[in-house]
Symmetry: C2
Subunit: 411 residues, 2 copies
Amino acid sequence: MTEFFNVLTPNDAILKITSNKSFPKSKTEIIDTFSAHNRINAKNIYSPTELPHFNRSSMDGYAIKSNDARGVSDSSPNYLEVIEEIKMGYVPNQTLKDGQCARIFTGGMIPNGADSVIMEEDTEILNENFIEIKKSLSVGENIIFKGEESKVNNKILNKGHKIRAQDIGSLLESGITKLLVHSKLNIGVLSSGDELIHPKEELQPAKIRDINTYTISNLIKSSGNEVTNYPIMPDNYESQLKIAKKAFQECDILIFSAGSSISYRDTTAKVIENLGKPGILVHGISVKPGKPTILGICDKKLILGLPGNPVSATMIFTNIVNPILNSMYNFTPINTYTECILSENISSHTGRVDYVPVKITNKDDKLYAKPVFGKSNLINTLVFSDGYISIPPAKRGLYKNSKVKVKKYEQ
Amino acid sequence: MTEFFNVLTPNDAILKITSNKSFPKSKTEIIDTFSAHNRINAKNIYSPTELPHFNRSSMDGYAIKSNDARGVSDSSPNYLEVIEEIKMGYVPNQTLKDGQCARIFTGGMIPNGADSVIMEEDTEILNENFIEIKKSLSVGENIIFKGEESKVNNKILNKGHKIRAQDIGSLLESGITKLLVHSKLNIGVLSSGDELIHPKEELQPAKIRDINTYTISNLIKSSGNEVTNYPIMPDNYESQLKIAKKAFQECDILIFSAGSSISYRDTTAKVIENLGKPGILVHGISVKPGKPTILGICDKKLILGLPGNPVSATMIFTNIVNPILNSMYNFTPINTYTECILSENISSHTGRVDYVPVKITNKDDKLYAKPVFGKSNLINTLVFSDGYISIPPAKRGLYKNSKVKVKKYEQ
């Protein structure tokens, strides 16, 4: 068994895994861009084409020669001949000469001879063939020029970027209908405990319903990956090893729930050590809750042991497992949070990170974060909270009225 | 046609829709709790049972009578008889008498007669039947008492709450395997424009690929709803009305892309007015980009007209459509963002909200937001940005080095 309580800081624990030479990166696959939402782009994407590929109007109005509007104003208008209405999606029929203009709409193709577009609001229709213009224009005004969106070989998307709605729009605009993305990871969840029964079963003396399988599997889905749930394992090393070996063949990653501490009943470490090399790299992280956590790599597969306590499991998944999964994708998310005023003092121990669930309330248009205290084994401390704050190891706590950053459990 | 440029502020526009007596709320349905992740809870949930339903140990150690540990310390230990090992998931066989203890593990059932648990680390095994205890304990120490998680009829979840991983855990812990949630909305997307071709087609002179259908449909998916995409509509009122009437029958909500302005080519308003009563309630919002937006209700269905410009469409979806959809669910999300230092001055006009895309960079451990300038018709201004900032109507801009809140496009 590995030495326990040789604890690492959260960052060191993550780094010890991600910097290991056996640390597995996710595979890649080609998919339709149409269905790439929330996938991680696996290759830098460069524009194959110039966009827009023709000069377009950005307004409803009239394409003109800006020279014809020189010195023009409300009190000193000019008059232009309307030689055609440029239909959307069609190439203009004529080239403008001095004193001529063409009716055009937003997105319409600028005719030869024109160098600007005067807005409808700055014109008056005189008759079928003539308009009055009442404003001067600079060259290029209200035109989106060829290549202004992107030039050939301009980089559009970085690898490691999570595909959003607008990214799909941009890729499709360039005609990129296939995309190389990181494959989703198939993560197996293995809960153990002789006291566990399925949530559909009636409560029995000394038994509790298994909730970790479902809490963890939904955290996995939220991280953009796939889940395989295995049946509850008994507190028996041989049975666990047998199930774990099967799961090891079927999944990219295994997450064990419970059995990660150091009592003789805790067999997760022993099971992991028998799945492959190098085995356990981290056993114990200087956080509360969640200290008895195991992080390992076996034959190039990530194998994790989360505490059986559902609050610890959630905090460790959010703060330790998620960053490791993101690293497999070369994905660095933006750190988002809600800034709040702490509504009461919180004490903590130096030398560890404390994760404290908080409820956010709005009072006089200010956001307050109120700690949800409770024994850390009780999942309702998470249910009654909107997010959590992290108290860094150097602090002995946080004072009432200090500013805190509240993070959500699932981003 | 409705009067345009009788613009409303974003908040007033949203309120004008959500406070209308025909404003539709989403339907509800009963689903499996196991698959309720990210759905909106539709009914307050109360605990049907006391949890835990027995006194549990929160540590690996020995269940004892705290009286037996009174005055005990490293230098003055006490000795206790170990009368049994309480197996996980089993009811203890014996009641403790003075001077007795029982081996117990985290989550194990506390035996009658015991009132606290001493941690393994604070004991020594003397022989098969006796241990030494080296620390005093208070009554109840390291015990999670019956009912400490929840009592019968305690409220677990509010209606309007978005179900997270831990919420599923808590519901299943209570044996709640079915849940009343809001039904997903089926939102039809109708893009129009004679210049549009399908993204799989080759570029042709004066034509552009339709990207709004796919940008908007992915924003809809991100909002937790379902999408029906309709084929590109021509710039022709009769054709549009015919397609819109079919879509109106098939969907809960319609979103039109393009044609929402006031030129004679813009037929969206006329189409919406012919779908039902009361029709258009808002035409024009004091924002940039996105001013020519239509919000309406027709025969109790929400009907929206977004600008054809994809940047405007994205900003309006994020800031106007999303809050309206959330209101249909009675859902109020937490406002999350990333606080950054603005890296340059931005000017804006008073009297409107400006949405400015920004790129976040990290320099000397500080986050900076750099505006991504560009014509607002170019979707790559969104692609090259990590989020956006909102400049309120009373401001003429924001100064370099001021603190800004950067929001993501999809939460």
